[in-house]
Symmetry: C3
Subunit: 439 residues, 3 copies
């Protein structure tokens, strides 16, 4: 299910003054080049990477406008005409389900004089009518009518600009790149691992929006290690094994996770599920060398936990294909802006959108089976605290780090080889993305 | 009535570091030059013109600091010593009526150490005393006393810096240019058309201030077409003929406006008034080729409307020279910051002041005859809705457009030759102003 | 009492990209050079010095990061482990008393991944534990523990970065310079003049924080003259002689101050105190030629005033070594950020910290003897008004001046040779600092 960028390059040239862009590009390239030379393998990045506008601009061009962005869940827009909007770097993006059932990303900008078309964060429309002069587009972006314009205007040249779109098992991805990187491997992995969770048959139980005063990379670096979990996340460590690492996984802990994996695997085998991460510590991600920007794995929860809730108990009907609560936890992530932790009965997605060198808009979504009824089948106050607390603990950590990193006295520090291998991996992946030429 | 810039260039050289200004000028000129080359005749402007700081700076220098700005109404400061202040691009401007009755614009900045002198938005003063060290100026700006300074200080060199000022039929204009463009033609037209309205014998019934998140040019482009009126302004189109254009003025409509003009003209002839716009559609303005930045015309209202009110009825005593309510509507406008819609019984002025690339401060004034008493002769709740609703509808349209135009996916779109000829005219006038050398 | 910068340059090179800093330095140097040429002796500075970012950056580098900054009072942190934090130009600075009793300035930034360590404005700690991954430092900044890191990490290379610190008679000074200027002369003068006031044996009765919308130099220029006192400070002039100057000190006034000095000197001699300023007008400070950035003097109060309170009466127990209330007033100041006015019974300190070209954070401290008990020995409502009113009057003056100075119509004006000699001296000192090479 995808919309091609076919009539994307038709009509008027887009993107403003190319001479201007070129100049900015050159200045930025020079700066980025000299900054890249300052980075030390295995150490955190220099201050400018977390704080300053020029690197932020480079991040936007080389990563955010070049890769695949998680936009939302297909279950947010179940019916033709349902839509939601999101904002990246000043661009208003519209995600809408067409009459053909396909989900398309469209630039939410009228081709006449540039007015926003949909002004609500989400809604339903049979046609997309610009509120300024009523240029009228189909849900596929085609210009259908423009009353009052000259007769010789070629409507085929003025459709809403399309955005490359992919849907995989209920997860919607967009790319603003002219030529996006391949999505095939991500599609294959995510569809296989995510299928049993039934995201396309889910519903959004709740979303919470945060404005976190931290560079988006600090948010990811925080996400890529559980070194901080013992002190930072008292709830999380009760349910999970990944705060243990090669330096502190004792024989007793090894036995416990082996038992949990064995017990679960037996049930999962019956259900056609596969255990993919069977050790303590976090699965290795991302992989800068193989350019792996997405991953998914299933792993065991601690004995007594069948759901990532405060007491480990199931608090909503089973989702998707699950027939038993003991399915461990499914985890997915894709750079630069998505991760998900799913239990048997609910799933929690996190979406990042940068809004400046030191600010990131974060939305956390809680999903349950589409048929579940709030109050009867689940209570938000039982479902939300585990991930709401854990998330907010992390945002506070990130803001404290941003504050310190802004100091001229900050200099890069060394990563723990035991516990921060994934932070180092993230930094290596990031620097590789930054250094390559933008398509 | 005007204050010359005589002692303007006396004393210390003004305006900061000329080397610095030259540099900024050159950089800006290069950018503006390359941007001008991107513009396509008959299409809206590239994004940078509406969104970015460099073009905004060029707008300030080439238009706002070079042309004539509407500052306010002379009836706001009826007595000697009455004053009001306004702000443009960091400059605090004082408009004060002197003991000789003349209105003068003065920079509201003490010549000693630069303190603001008048801190209230409006008031009355017999002398202008700096609140810091009591340097004391006359209402004409002359330095009268500066206790504590050395005896040889030549007070004649330290008057408040004057601003070129013109008053025409109760409308006050300022120019910050060293050598302002001629005001003569504007003076002649406005005095002839505005005289019967009696602005100098009016009073301000109400002002409402808005901070609109849109570039000042988007506000003008909105003002220069009634293409959006059918959907955007349900009140306005009931009273007026200008939302009809060559593509949709039917024989019936033509007959109606002709009848309204004929009926009105008969009365206006008796009253010495002249009908100047007798067709549907908006009068052509501005005229880039002839460099016409001001205009005024009188046109008919729809049958049943003698005032731009919700029900078309007169809601205040007749203004100025009017002896009959059926005078149609007087409309005036001057670039870059003023328009006015006047009915027989009240007048509505709009003043724009830019405060950034994406923000415009807008004041809307309602005026009535000076002798009218609120509550007895008029009610604000009957007078205000027509233009308050219409104005606020437009501000919302402009903010939606700014939001969309900020997107990198925005590209210029084509103007309707039927309905947006004045938007195109405005853009041509603007680009001409931007391209010329600043005096 | 001082902490050397010994292990400061050890470990990883600090301060980010040197190539980048060099570029900024060169651009800034060119601008500052051309701006310096615009300054006219005896006149106020051009607008750019008060309003613009490039000069502000130069101020930060050439003055704020190069000189000695007043940080606070040692009585704020009486016990080992007591600390407070302050912020300069994005740097979070920690001032903490060690187990050895010594006060040290430390950068409040973890050497691991840069998190802020102490997040409270003030508190007590036995060890400094980073809230992110629990790297643990001693109160002297030494890294004691970093659980989870590789075994070969050399902890001696990862102490908290120290800041040059001096304490003189209870006043704490920091310098962010690599090689700070000498503190010896300041130490000698301040210790001699400040000793009788007993700051180290005082306590903070109250602090009030202000965010003043004015460049820090405008705040100093206001502080460096009493030309504005007659109108600006009705309370202050009742107690003091320094608003009189050579142009308005009459024979009667001369007699009064001579009598006050004579009467006080007799008592001060008994108490081992010395009168150092015996005339009307302000003592000369700073001295650009001799590079004097600090000063202190004792002078007489007006007859009937033994304390800078609303009615001149003593309102708290005598401080320090004083045995009699009639000790005149002790005044101290050090550039770029401190002044103090002390009476027999209380002392008032003012600390400036710039937070942008047009904003200054100001803290005013009221101090009394450590043994004094609020409510019993003193009332805040009797102690605070004199300096709270005077301070707030000045902040309002400064904000009005900033507003006016922002205007392009502002040009430098002449200083009064009678009354603004110290403003001129401040400007000369400032320009000298700005012109020199940064260490």
């Amino acid at each position: 299910m995808q919309s091609t960028g076919k009539h994307f390059r038709s009509g008027v040239r887009r993107g403003g003054n190319p001479r201007l862009r070129r100049k900015i590009g050159v200045a930025s390239a020079g700066l980025v080049g000299s900054m890249l030379a300052e980075c030390r393998p295995g150490w955190s990045l220099p201050r400018e990477f977390y704080s300053d506008e020029p690197i932020y601009r480079a991040d936007i061009e080389h990563l955010w406008r070049s890769g695949w962005l998680f936009a939302g869940h297909s279950c947010e827009i179940p019916k033709p005409g349902d839509y939601f909007t999101l904002e990246l770097d000043g661009d208003s993006l519209l995600v809408i389900r067409g009459n053909d059932g396909a989900i398309r990303g469209l630039h939410n900008v009228c081709r006449h004089r540039g007015s926003l078309i949909c002004t609500a964060p989400a809604g339903h429309a049979t046609r997309l009518v610009c509120p300024y002069h009523q240029w009228t587009y189909g849900c596929d972006g085609k210009l259908l009518a423009c009353r009052g314009m000259q007769e010789d205007l070629d409507k085929s040249q003025f459709g809403l600009r399309p955005i490359h779109t992919r849907e995989v098992e209920g997860l919607i991805y967009l790319s603003l790149a002219d030529k996006p990187p391949t999505f095939d491997a991500a599609q294959q992995l995510l569809s296989s691992l995510a299928r049993p969770q039934g995201f396309a048959r889910a519903k959004i139980a709740k979303t919470v929006d945060y404005l976190v005063k931290a560079n988006w990379k600090l948010v990811w670096e925080n996400n890529r290690e559980c070194f901080h979990c013992n002190f930072g996340h008292p709830q999380y460590i009760k349910a999970n094994f990944d705060h243990y690492n090669s330096d502190d996984t004792t024989a007793g802990i090894k036995k416990k996770i082996a038992a949990a994996v064995a017990r679960s695997e037996q049930k999962w085998a019956d259900a056609g599920l596969t255990a993919t991460h069977k050790q303590t510590g976090m699965t290795v991600f991302p992989d800068a060398e193989k350019n792996i920007w997405f991953s998914a794995n299933r792993t065991a929860l601690v004995d007594g936990y069948v759901s990532e809730t405060m007491d480990g108990k199931q608090i909503a009907p089973l989702m998707g294909d699950y027939r038993d609560a003991d399915v461990g936890t499914l985890r997915m992530r894709s750079l630069p802006n998505f991760w998900n932790h799913s239990s048997c009965d609910h799933a929690v997605s996190t979406r990042l959108l940068p809004i400046g060198p030191q600010q990131t808009a974060i939305r956390v979504y809680w999903l349950v089976d589409a048929a579940a009824v709030e109050g009867r089948d689940y209570q938000l106050e039982k479902m939300m605290p585990f991930w709401q607390l854990t998330s907010e603990q992390d945002w506070e950590i990130c803001e404290r780090q941003q504050h310190g990193v802004n100091s001229r006295a900050y200099t890069p520090g060394p990563y723990s080889t035991y516990k921060e291998y994934n932070v180092d991996g993230f930094v290596r992946w990031y620097l590789k993305m930054l250094a390559r030429k933008v398509s």
